[in-house]
């Protein structure tokens, strides 16, 4: 069966989504176990696949038994393998942690909610595993459509924010499709490796240049890179916690993976970095993204919205790191995909727990929370330290690689922006920790004389959260192994 791992990763959640959908009409209690089982199989297969890749190198899987470029094929190398494990594990942990929230918020619609959840994970896994440029578009649309639905379920301004996201997301996906069309018209192929083989003779073509620009703009729209980020904060803030803690860690990271895949495999580093010579300006855009994300986060008085602006800054880190055009920068960007997915998951799970217990996430609601929810807030501190970049949490190491990449490229603006954003993160998070630790708990009923009893979130939400928080430290400790055994092989030898 291990030959079939690449297929199982996508197929099992897909089949499970249909079973969940039908089961939702028969017996609602069946939905959750099926979803957990499917995502567990996906996680298991992706770990197995990563081990196989480490062992044997690139794994090729032909769907339908057709040879590429006529059929669709999967190419799984070290980069995909790593991101696959992260995506499936994050989705599984979040699913287990969010069960109570989902049942509390949508008692009548748990079936469709789980269906969309699993379908979205299928779409994200498919984006990561596929080796076909058009197939990526279809899967991107699955992940986006289900994402709009999941985000819009938050009441209030949720639907409006999701509708704006839909407009922007559709423009982004259509731009990507258009870029693939431009590549197709000059190469005649849709397979990524095949396109990369044909392109070198066409590097001077205006169509290839345009295809590159349009694909990049489309992907940037989807990942909320700075000037194109306007949809993100509202869409994530007004979403239900269960969906925002799935989409916030994964969607932007997967899009960054797509960008790196386009740079490394489709257009090849030689074209992206040497012939175009736009590195400098894109890194400056990333610098603006980081600074603006940090500044906008400072202005927020609402925990969830503040975190969304931090995501925008983090997207700037990764885009900048990838476009530095050297080995350390690229390593930092890929490592940061892993770390940022875990960090974001950690802090958004904390928000989920807080909302579950207190029904609010404005700063005023956080007063005295350390006494009320010690474990949740403990995990929050670990997540915060990791986002700031304090050793031994994993956030430190990816930032270290990014900074050394910036120095190696001689791009001191990027280094300064990274340090500035770390400083701002210190301010942001210590403000919250101070509120939570020193201020008395503000009781909404007005009688807060007696000390607050501990009122933690239920165990099923707490255990996954603590696992994630511990994971932040563990990944930090094994960073060396991850870099030397996986990421070093993911970056082609051309990048020094």
């Amino acid at each position: 069966m291990s030959q079939q791992y690449p297929a199982l990763i996508v197929i099992v959640p897909l089949l499970a989504a249909f079973i969940i959908s039908a089961a939702g009409w028969v017996n609602k209690r069946l939905c959750f176990p099926v979803a957990v089982a499917a995502l567990s199989v996906a996680t298991y297969s992706s770990i197995g696949l990563l081990l196989r890749v480490l062992d044997q190198g690139v794994v090729l899987y032909k769907l339908g038994g057709w040879d590429p470029p006529w059929g669709i094929a999967y190419y799984v190398d070290h980069l995909n393998g790593l991101v696959l494990v992260v995506v499936s594990a994050v989705a599984l942990i979040n699913l287990i942690a969010s069960k109570k929230i989902i049942e509390q918020e949508f008692p009548e619609k748990t079936g469709p909610f789980y269906t969309l959840y699993v379908l979205m994970v299928t779409g994200l896994l498919g984006i990561v595993v596929t080796g076909d440029a058009f197939n990526l578009y279809v899967l991107l649309e699955i992940a986006s459509l289900t994402g709009y639905g999941l985000l819009a379920m938050g009441g209030g301004r949720g639907p409006l924010a999701a509708l704006n996201y839909l407009y922007m997301g559709t423009i982004g996906a259509c731009f990507y499709l258009l870029g693939i069309g431009y590549l197709y018209i000059v190469t005649g192929s849709l397979n990524m490796v095949d396109i990369a083989g044909i392109l070198p003779s066409l590097y001077q073509s205006k169509a290839v240049l345009t295809a590159f620009i349009i694909c990049m703009v489309g992907v940037w729209l989807k990942m909320a890179f700075f000037p194109l980020h306007a949809w993100l904060p509202n869409a994530y803030t007004y979403a239900p916690s269960a969906s925002s803690s799935l989409i916030a860690p994964l969607m932007t990271k997967v899009m960054i993976y797509v960008m790196i895949r386009l740079i490394l495999t489709v257009f090849t580093p030689q074209f992206s970095f040497t012939i175009l010579a736009v590195n400098e300006s894109i890194v400056w855009l990333a610098v603006i993204a980081i600074v603006m994300g940090a500044v906008l986060a400072l202005a927020e008085r609402n925990l969830k919205k503040m975190l969304t602006y931090i995501i925008i800054a983090e997207v700037g880190y990764m885009v900048g790191g990838a476009w530095l055009g050297n080995r350390a920068g690229m390593t930092g960007a890929i490592l940061h995909i892993v770390n940022d997915a875990l960090m974001t998951l950690c802090v958004f799970l904390v928000v989920g727990n807080i909302v579950y217990k207190i029904k609010g996430y404005a700063f005023d609601d956080l007063k005295g929370l350390f006494r009320k929810m010690p474990f949740t807030m403990g995990a929050f501190v670990v997540g915060a330290l990791s986002i700031i970049g304090v050793p031994p949490t994993c956030g430190f190491f990816s930032k270290w690689y990014l900074i050394s990449g910036g120095i190696a490229a001689g791009h001191y603006g990027f280094v300064a922006a990274l340090l500035f954003s770390s400083l701002v993160n210190v301010v942001l998070f210590f403000r919250i920790i101070e509120l939570g630790y020193f201020e008395p708990f503000s009781d909404h009923h007005g009688h807060n004389h007696h000390p607050e009893p501990i009122d933690e979130a239920p165990l099923s939400m707490l255990v996954p959260l603590i696992i994630v928080a511990a994971g932040l430290v563990v990944v930090g400790m094994y960073t060396g192994d991850i870099v030397t055994r996986i990421i070093d092989f993911a970056i082609p030898a051309g990048i020094v």
Binding site: Y148, A152, Y167
Partner: protein, 136 residues
């Protein structure tokens, strides 16, 4: 001058698709009404489909359905007779079937969201909605 006319004849299909795409994109960004934006989105997506179908066009070729294919006897005869130049490139058609279906799916979701927004704010105009949000 002759060159120019030659270019126009060779490329006008692509230019029309770009015009349509610009109309759609403009409507999506600049229009104030949410449903108008969705109409713009439809135009935008259809324009891209037109572009792909234009890629597939082939002069002097017929539709991509083999003439001699009928059941068991077919695949011995026809494999020798089929030449790629006689049939239009089928691949862009396949891709665009997918894109049309994706477009209608997006349309359904967008309209559902628009109805939700209307139920809450009782208007589809973006500026009026933003005003209501600011008042709160």
């Amino acid at each position: 001058m002759g060159d120019l006319i030659q270019t126009i004849i060779a490329k006008y299909n692509y230019w029309i698709y770009i015009t349509l795409m610009m109309i759609g994109l403009y409507a999506m960004i600049a229009k104030n009404n949410l449903v108008k934006k969705i109409v713009g989105m439809g135009i935008f997506q259809t324009a891209i489909i037109l572009f792909y179908v234009s890629i597939g066009a082939k002069r002097g070729a017929t539709i991509p359905i083999l003439e001699h294919g009928h059941g068991e006897q077919g695949h011995e005869i026809s494999s020798h007779m089929v030449h790629a130049v006689d049939y239009i490139n089928p691949l862009p058609h396949v891709l665009m079937l997918t894109a049309i279906v994706v477009a209608v799916a997006t349309l359904g979701v967008a309209l559902a969201l628009a109805i939700r927004v209307y139920n809450r704010y009782n208007t589809l105009e973006e500026d009026e909605i933003l005003e209501q949000i600011r008042e709160k």
